[in-house]
């Protein structure tokens, strides 16, 4: 390939990239501005006259009637739920993907087809049955039920991605380990797992995101305000007649930040982890 394009083409390319950047950044700036605007004031263009962190302060310092620091607890709940979901999700997706990638067992084809099919389930019909099932399992009012549901939601896509990646790990390595005296489980934990790290990172990201952003089920299942997750809590700012956009925006930024940070931390893996399977 030529090492350099002509100046004109380079300029054109930079121009397009610049325009796309503006389009990408604009809505984000809009949220930032709303969060930084002290009262609800009418403003049409993005320009923050007086920067103010009041909205952030209000959101962060939310307390309940007994003076317990709600924001802190809810942040902790979110982290715990998302964290456990991630661990569950990785475990479930990794073992499942490993089976589908490494064994040719009766039922494998059905399993693969089912994974794609589950992506087509319309969420509308699922919420109430999930409620009933968790009720029967006595998991309704606990974080565990929620965690299980979240990890299940994320599994099909994660397996699909992980399987693609594991397919690219040479089978020889595992056979070598088999002869070296490793059990199936040892091969899984000591060979496949370390080698699938980029894809695992991406799986972790998606599981985390699923749990971190969800609020409909969380608002239905959890029975204590100190057990709520952050997305449920920030619903208070966009309810019915009163919408506190400034607070909502501030809360939205606070909620998005960890995910955005994770995305950026893992973006290198993202490129490889997502596609390895399908291109080799």
């Amino acid at each position: 390939m030529e090492k350099r394009a002509s100046f004109g083409r380079q300029a054109l390319r930079q121009l397009i990239l610049l325009i796309v950047s503006v389009i990408v950044i604009y809505p984000v700036l809009w949220v930032v501005q709303t969060a930084m605007t002290p009262a609800q004031e009418f403003r049409r263009e993005i320009a923050v006259s007086s920067w103010s962190f009041d909205n952030f302060r209000d959101v962060v310092s939310t307390k309940d009637a007994r003076g317990r620091w709600l924001f802190g607890r809810q942040l902790w709940n979110s982290l715990a739920v998302a964290g456990v979901t991630t661990l569950f999700g990785i475990f479930l997706a990794l073992t499942g993907a490993y089976a589908l990638s490494r064994f040719d067992f009766p039922g494998r084809e059905t399993g693969l087809a089912t994974l794609l099919v589950t992506q087509m389930f319309p969420g509308v019909v699922m919420a109430i049955p999930i409620y009933i099932i968790l009720d029967k399992l006595k998991l309704l009012n606990s974080m565990w039920g929620l965690t299980l549901v979240y990890s299940t939601t994320a599994i099909p896509f994660c397996i699909w991605m992980l399987k693609g990646y594991i397919d690219t790990i040479p089978k020889d390595l595992e056979e070598a380990a088999l002869l070296d005296g490793a059990t199936r489980w040892q091969i899984f934990t000591r060979i496949a797992l370390p080698l699938a790290r980029p894809a695992i990172a991406v799986t972790a990201l998606f599981s985390f995101m699923t749990a971190w952003n969800e609020f409909i089920l969380a608002a239905t299942f959890l029975n204590q305000e100190t057990a709520y997750t952050l997305p449920v809590a920030i619903q208070r700012y966009v309810e019915s007649e009163k919408t506190a956009w400034g607070h909502f925006a501030a809360a939205a930024i606070l909620v998005s930040l960890p995910v955005v940070a994770l995305f950026f931390a893992l973006q290198r893996h993202l490129v490889g982890g997502l596609t390895a399977g399908s291109v080799k």
Partner: protein, 362 residues
């Protein structure tokens, strides 16, 4: 150290039969090479012995004890893969120690053994490196080291040299041979390269289409190939084949073909046959009565020897001569060859089986 026995081992994939039935006896300490063209089933045999693949039928025994239903790790065999299969996320040291660690050897013993093997293979300076930081030859040595560390009963090699360049391959061949002499273990080695087979093996098994063509020492295979396939596969440059007609001629037989007229003292089966002649058995002769005559095409000098390509009748043949002798022949000139009676290999035209003279000297 152990003997390996295969009895009636076969393998099917779905409806396709890869291996009909293999019987093989490998004595303790033998270096056995399984050789054959790609797709002949040689790797499958190896993997069945390793336990990586289950045989559809038959029985594998190591040291007289059946291992057919045993898991690979319970067979105490080690394998060197074509791709080396070094664990990319472990250092050389960790790669070597992996098996020992899995069987929970004491750390001191592991260290000592890794150091010993590293020394043996000249890997001492590389122990802390990762596989991706090694050259092809070094990786190959690590792969062998990983097998040696464990002191397995049987070593298995699956085309371990095929990805290396020719010079390195030659060097490592010698190392392997020395290793075998040192360890005196049973080794089964799979390759498609007959030179590797000839240089390394105590015993060679030639496999084609899942069937053993011949099993013997390199010398036996070279001198008395059991069929046309083995004859053509073993030896370099490969054996020349001429279609001939054998007729009765007094007490003996007469062999005729365009450019060939030869009387044989023994009685051979009459009818069409294939004559096999190794290139180095073709001796140029100025005698007008020499049995073979052909036309010179090209002379390829290779240092002290030369390959002379020509045609006998319409059949291309190759003769291996010293460069001095070859120089005497111009392209398009006529050349005559003499052949020693011992150098004749005759095969059935249809089945390819080796023909022998009818017994009269017995």
């Amino acid at each position: 150290m152990a003997s390996v026995t295969l009895r009636g081992v076969g393998k099917d994939f779905g409806a396709t039969t890869i291996l009909p039935s293999i019987d093989l006896e490998i004595a303790d300490g033998t270096f056995l090479v399984l050789v054959g063209p790609s797709g002949c089933g040689k790797s499958t045999v190896l993997r069945i012995v390793a336990g990586l693949e289950a045989a559809t039928r038959g029985d594998v025994a190591i040291d007289g004890e059946s291992v057919t239903d045993k898991k690979p790790r319970d067979r105490d065999v080690a394998m060197v893969f074509q791709s080396y299969a070094l664990y990319p996320h472990m250092t050389v040291r960790e790669n070597l120690a992996f098996a020992l660690r899995l069987r929970k050897d004491p750390q001191a013993a592991i260290d000592a053994r890794v150091a010993e093997v590293g020394e043996m293979l000249g890997l001492g300076a590389l122990l802390e490196r990762f596989p991706r930081q090694l050259s092809g030859g070094q990786r190959q040595r690590v792969a062998m080291g990983r097998a040696i560390v464990r002191r397995p009963r049987v070593f298995l090699f699956d085309e371990p040299l095929s990805t290396l360049d020719a010079a390195l391959r030659g060097k490592l061949r010698v190392e392997l041979k020395r290793l075998h002499q040192q360890l005196k273990s049973t080794m089964i080695y799979v390759t498609h390269d007959q030179i590797e087979a000839m240089t390394l093996a105590d015993q060679i098994v030639v496999l084609n289409g899942g069937v053993i063509q011949q099993h013997g020492t390199p010398d036996e295979l070279y001198r008395r190939p059991a069929n046309r396939f083995v004859a053509g596969f073993i030896g370099s440059p490969p054996m020349n084949f001429l279609d001939v007609e054998i007729a009765k001629d007094g007490d003996g037989s007469a062999m005729r073909a365009p450019g060939l007229e030869l009387r044989l003292p023994e009685r051979w089966p009459e009818g069409p046959a294939v004559l096999g002649l190794r290139p180095n058995d073709l001796v140029p002769s100025d005698d007008a009565a020499a049995p073979l005559s052909g036309e010179v095409d090209v002379v390829e000098p290779i240092g002290w020897e030369a390959h002379l390509h020509g045609r006998i009748g319409e059949t291309p043949v190759c003769a291996q001569l010293t460069a001095d002798v070859a120089r005497r022949y111009e392209p398009a000139s006529t050349i005559r060859f003499d052949i020693a009676p011992r150098a004749l290999h005759l095969f059935d035209r249809d089945s390819g089986a080796r023909l022998s003279a009818e017994a009269q000297d017995a």
